[in-house]
């Protein structure tokens, strides 16, 4: 039971930030698409802004790995 809970914790640690990242990037992406359509020179900035929320899921992954290592 304990192992199952630890595994669940690891899954949540990466899953919830992934959902948050997806939501953030969806909003940024749609706003960015409109911005780039009007001002193509902002394409580089938009790509950078689009990539920034990924830090959440990367850190969630780190936590998940650390939890899984405990499980191992």
């Amino acid at each position: 039971m304990e192992k199952a809970l630890i595994a669940l914790a690891a899954a949540l640690a990466v899953g919830l930030p992934a959902l948050a990242t997806a939501y953030a990037q969806a909003r940024i992406g749609s706003a960015g698409a409109g911005t780039v359509a009007e001002k193509p020179e902002t394409g580089g900035t938009i790509i950078i802004l689009e990539a920034i929320p990924e830090t959440m899921v990367i850190l969630g992954f780190v936590v998940a790995i650390m939890i899984i290592l405990q499980l191992a």
Binding site: G44, T45, I47, E54, I58, L59, F61, I65, L69
Partner: protein, 637 residues
């Protein structure tokens, strides 16, 4: 490396202004100030050129020609040679005159085509409609010609009263012998349809009055067969349609031939006029007196000598050049031109997504050339994938487009690092290398040594961020921006003290030594606040997050390694069957695409956000020298 620029002022005799400007255009190194002064002394030449240029472009578009990619510099040179001896004031009217005839002929052809197509459409509609009545026509063929067919537009609900009125009229004329009113109705898509009636000749005068009363309109045949009866007009209509079709095809062929023949010539003429317009605009903007003119701009220092020699050789004493280095207050106006060795030059493409670095900034191209493929190689980390990327890069390096050749060069270096790190992780298409050739990792397998790889990537991130901060400090000192180097130094010292804390925590040194990193922390904070204020403190905290962000290198690499293992598992489950091999190949293909795309995207992101954020100052201006544009960018504006 950002090229050093000089401020160049050119004075020349007014009578040779056009020649001097044309020579500067050919040399193609002088970046002129934008909108320098108002237009002066424009004698209508500039407007004439602009109008003619627009007219030629309109003709190119009217011809439907769009193969700008096949035009070469030599095509434009031919146009230049034709008119090079004439000033714009003379060749503009000449070209306009010859274009008059051409555009008249073209518009006649196009109007004729439009008219014929319209007529053809109407004929086809009529033919289609009459074809739907052909069975009715054949059923009631009347060689005696005692009756005839009429066609009417009528709403469906009006048909019964209309037929009743016609019947009554027949009866009133004593034509009970005619029998019932034969008719056929073809409904329209919406509203009225077409009603065909067979009526006796005797009824002919009265039928129109009945139609008006019953709100029916006569349906008339097209002009080509309006003298014929509807039932016998179908062959005539078909012949008219065929003839018109042939004529339209002939006109289209004619237009297509014109487009093939004249499109490239007019396009080259447009480019020639575009160049002349630009030169005329520069002439109009130049400072002029009675006998002299002058204009100024920025020129790379390494091009100054050749420019001076070329102008002096051609114009001798008719031109005077003065140059100087930019002053401090001019740095924001100096355009930024990058020049890197051929090995590093392809990586300049990464800076094209951002505003150029400021003239006094730092060109990070070399750093990107070193670290970007390195990070990508760690993430991909597979010998097999590296070999495929290598082959792909060789193909791309042969491409015509310079951007693709640059991408090929970048992929080539990535492939080498991928193969190297594939040997470090012991991966060849996942664990296939281990299964077949007993391949062993030089360090460890990514899927098993997760924590060491994560620590390694975080250490890599720390080194990269520290490098960024060192560059930022150097920039601050070089440009004498005290707040910049103080803030970056403070940030660096704080990071260093944190590393010191960690080191002391993990080691067995006496706890008394903790005072050393604490002292550095305090010094760092003081410098940070002095240089950057509260924003600097937030920036320092952000640096810690930036370093941890590099763990994505391990994360993406690990996901790639595990996906490759999954591909091998399919072989274990399905064996060396067609299905097993197919599924394994599909997984490897997916993994390859994700690895290449993901590694590129995340390496780029680490550079743009975590690395450039420590030192990159944009706000530079693009270096756009006064020269002939080439490639697809010379397309119509």
């Amino acid at each position: 490396m950002i090229r050093s620029m000089m401020r160049l002022s050119v004075w020349g005799v007014r009578s040779r202004r056009q020649e001097i400007i044309s020579e500067l255009f050919s040399l193609g190194v002088l970046h002129l100030d934008e909108g320098e002064g108002a237009l002066r002394g424009d004698d209508g030449t500039l407007n004439g050129l602009r109008l003619l240029r627009g007219r030629v472009l309109g003709l190119v578009e009217a011809l439907g020609w769009d193969r700008w990619d096949i035009l070469k510099d030599s095509d434009v040179d031919k146009a230049v040679q034709l008119f090079s001896d004439l000033p714009p004031g003379e060749f503009v009217p000449e070209i306009s005159k010859s274009l008059d005839k051409f555009s008249t002929r073209l518009s006649d052809l196009q109007e004729g085509l439009a008219g014929d197509e319209d007529t053809l459409s109407k004929l086809r509609k009529s033919l289609d409609l009459l074809s739907r009545f052909s069975a009715f026509f054949q059923r009631w063929e009347d060689p005696s010609r005692e009756s005839y067919i009429t066609l009417w537009w009528i709403p469906p609900e009006k048909i019964p009263p209309f037929l009743a009125a016609v019947q009554n009229d027949l009866l009133s004329r004593g034509r009970e012998d005619f029998g019932g009113i034969d008719h056929h109705f073809v409904p329209g898509r919406e509203g009225p349809g077409i009603l065909s009636l067979r009526v006796p000749q005797a009824l002919a005068p009265g039928i129109s009055a009945i139609a008006v009363r019953e709100k029916a309109l006569p349906w008339r045949l097209p002009e080509c067969c309006d003298q014929e009866a509807p039932e016998s007009s179908i062959p005539t209509l078909r012949a008219a349609v065929d003839e018109l079709d042939l004529r339209i095809n002939s006109i289209k062929n004619d237009l297509s031939e014109n487009s093939e023949e004249w499109g490239p010539r007019l396009a080259a003429l447009f480019l020639f006029l575009d160049e002349k317009t630009e030169q005329a605009a520069v002439e109009a903007r130049s400072e002029t007196s009675d006998n002299f003119f002058s204009l100024s701009g920025w020129i790379p220092e390494d091009s100054l000598l050749t420019t001076e020699e070329a102008l002096k050789t051609k114009f001798g004493k008719d031109v005077l050049l003065k140059c100087r280095l930019p002053g401090k207050d001019e740095w924001k106006d100096v355009p930024t031109s990058l020049k890197n060795r051929p090995f590093f030059a392809p990586f300049e493409v990464f800076l094209k997504l951002l505003r150029p670095p400021s003239y006094i900034g730092f060109d990070p191209t070399t750093a990107v050339a070193v670290f970007f493929p390195f990070f990508s190689g760690i993430m991909i980390g597979d010998i097999g994938y590296g070999v495929i990327i290598f082959l792909l890069s060789l193909g791309l390096k042969r491409a015509k487009r310079p951007v693709l050749r640059d991408v090929g060069s970048i992929l080539l270096i990535i492939s080498l690092w991928s193969v190297l790190w594939g040997a470090v992780w012991g991966e060849f298409f996942g664990d296939i290398g281990h299964r077949l050739f007993y391949l062993r990792p030089l360090w460890l397998e990514r899927s098993e040594g997760v924590l060491p790889v994560m620590i390694f990537t975080v250490a890599l991130g720390a080194a990269h961020v520290v490098l960024g901060l060192l560059i930022g400090i150097w920039q601050g000192i070089k440009n004498r921006h005290a707040h910049v180097w103080m803030e970056k130094s403070g940030n660096l010292i704080i990071l260093g003290s944190l590393f010191g804390f960690l080191f002391l925590l993990m080691s067995e040194f006496p706890r008394g030594l903790f005072s050393i990193p604490v002292s550095f922390l305090v010094i760092g904070l003081v410098l940070l606040v002095a240089g950057g204020g509260i924003g600097g403190v937030i920036e320092a905290l952000g640096s810690i997050g930036n370093i941890v962000s590099y763990v994505r290198i391990a994360a993406i690499g690990l996901s790639s390694a595990i996906l490759a293992l999954v591909a091998s598992k399919f072989l274990d489950v399905f064996g060396l069957s067609i299905l097993g091999v197919f599924l394994a190949l599909m997984i490897h293909l997916l993994n390859f695409v994700l690895a290449v795309a993901g590694s590129g995207l995340h390496s780029a992101r680490l550079h743009y956000v975590e690395f450039f954020g420590k030192f990159y100052s944009d706000g530079g201006k693009n270096y756009t020298p006064f020269q002939r544009r080439s490639g697809s960018s010379w397309k119509k504006r």
